[in-house]
């Protein structure tokens, strides 16, 4: 067995829904296209589809769990919609090893929806960007992050953290996050 090629194909099958579907429709075509010998291809074609799907779904579940932890207030505000939106945001994207890349992808999707007025409530995008700013500024290297918001995002976050209903106020707000290498993070919001 050519282990490196087999593992590379498995890694893609575990993380790529489209390739997985294609593989189970035509395993020989996919495996040979991705560099497996005919011998290894025939062996791998015997893989159990149910097991493969179970593993792939567990990976998605794990990514959703990490994204919920990265964006806890956004997750609370979106409720049941969180997982569906995350799946849409990361569709076709393998995990890149950075645990917060999926959270960033979700925020990008919410911003697209916001631009098209396709997401309710509108303040959810500000909230997600607010939470993501802490992640962006928390990386090991020095960080300086500037964000502008349409709503009073601090009040929204505080209400959600207390488990209260959110009564969002439109208020132009700016945020600054600064952190020296491996040092303490400082941040502040300015309302206008």
């Amino acid at each position: 067995m050519a282990l490196a090629e087999t593992q590379a194909l498995l890694a893609r099958l575990y993380t790529d829904d489209s390739l997985r579907r294609e593989f189970f429709e035509s395993p020989v075509a996919v495996a040979t296209r991705l560099g497996l010998s005919m011998h290894d291809t025939q062996r791998l074609a015997a893989i159990d589809r149910r097991e493969m799907e179970a593993f792939a779904q567990s990976l998605i579940g794990k990514r959703a769990l990490y994204a919920r932890k990265a964006l806890p207030l956004t997750s609370r505000a979106l409720g049941d919609r969180f997982d569906a939106l995350l799946r849409e945001a990361i569709r076709g994207r393998a995990q890149d090893g950075k645990s917060c890349a999926d959270a960033a992808a979700l925020v990008a999707l919410l911003q697209e929806r916001f631009a098209g007025r396709q997401i309710e409530p509108l303040w959810i995008v500000d909230l997600a960007r607010f939470e993501l700013a802490f992640i962006d500024s928390g990386r090991p290297r020095a960080a300086f992050v500037l964000r502008s918001f349409h709503f009073d995002v601090a009040s929204i976050a505080a209400s959600l953290a207390r488990g209260e209903d959110v009564s969002a106020i439109r208020k132009r707000t700016f945020g600054v996050w600064a952190r020296p290498p491996r040092g303490r993070l400082r941040w502040r919001l300015f309302g206008r």
Partner: protein, 278 residues
């Protein structure tokens, strides 16, 4: 002869920051801690201070998640260097990784993927372990993982694969009792009947945890109390194997600390009963 010469640590707990305050309030109820090395890679100063604080109050061992020791492409040198820095900082008697692969072909899988049970895989693991040893002198022990996808082309069963891998690498075994139970249940083999096929003499540490059932599969989700089936297996293993330490893993739905401490106490009682701990 023991797989590695090391002190016995007793009944420990996988450290999670959520219960830090309770842990320090009940220090005497936990003999040692296992930290997840990955949580301290690229860590800010506050996080490293936490590590130093833990080290000054508890014996520590380290547990890695993403080394991909079974990866045929070799190891990620930067990841290895960062792991080495964490291990040097806490100077544990041993550290552990999973016998699996987590990345290949430029894709990070994001979880522990099963290896094909072949001699070629054993050779790859042995080569990677040698590479690790050239960077980290602390003894490495390898953990059996939950198998979800059985890779076709296997030349042996899991027990033989594990035994031969430990023999080829000279590593000790971190026996995850819950993973043994999950694999046996999901794939319908009789662990009781095949008990002696596992490399008990190489065992150094135990993991135990609770999981859940989803769509007819047992999942090693670390989000529930340890099941009685796992406790029964744990008791049998402790009676049979030279265990140096047992660690409760709990990652989600973390209960009040009292419940964790009770599980740690139950694990300790079995260690004491079989002369594995004072």
């Amino acid at each position: 002869m023991a797989a590695i010469e090391t002190p016995t640590l007793g009944s420990g707990l996988g450290y999670r920051p959520q219960f830090r305050a309770d842990l320090f309030a009940h220090r005497e109820e936990v003999d040692f801690l296992e930290i997840v090395a990955d949580h301290y890679l690229d860590a800010p100063r506050e996080k490293l201070d936490e590590l130093d604080l833990l080290k000054s109050h508890f014996p520590l061992v380290a547990h890695g998640l993403d080394l991909s020791i079974g990866g045929a492409e070799g190891l990620d040198t930067r990841y290895l260097d960062k792991t080495a820095a964490v291990i040097e900082r806490i100077d544990p008697p041993w550290w552990s990784e999973h016998l699996c692969f987590t990345r290949a072909g430029g894709v990070s899988i994001g979880h522990l993927a099963s290896l094909p049970y072949t001699q070629e895989t054993i050779d790859v693991v042995a080569r990677n372990v040698e590479r690790v040893r050239s960077r980290i002198r602390t003894p490495l022990i390898l953990e059996n993982v939950t198998c979800v996808v059985r890779v076709p082309g296997g030349e042996m069963e899991e027990a033989e694969f594990l035994s031969r891998t430990l023999e080829a690498t000279g590593c000790g075994w971190l026996c995850d009792v819950a993973n043994l139970h999950v694999n046996a249940t999901n794939f319908g083999y009789d662990l009781e009947a095949e008990f002696e096929r596992w490399p008990w003499d190489r065992l150094v540490q135990i993991h135990y945890a609770g999981g859940r059932e989803r769509n007819g599969w047992l999942i090693d989700s670390h989000d529930a109390a340890t099941s009685e089936a796992v406790w029964t297996l744990y008791d049998r293993i402790v009676a049979r194997a030279p265990v140096k330490g047992a660690v409760l893993e709990r990652d989600e739905q973390i209960p009040p600390f009292r419940a964790l401490a009770e599980e740690v106490a139950r694990a300790r009682a079995t260690l004491v009963e079989h002369g594995r701990w004072r």
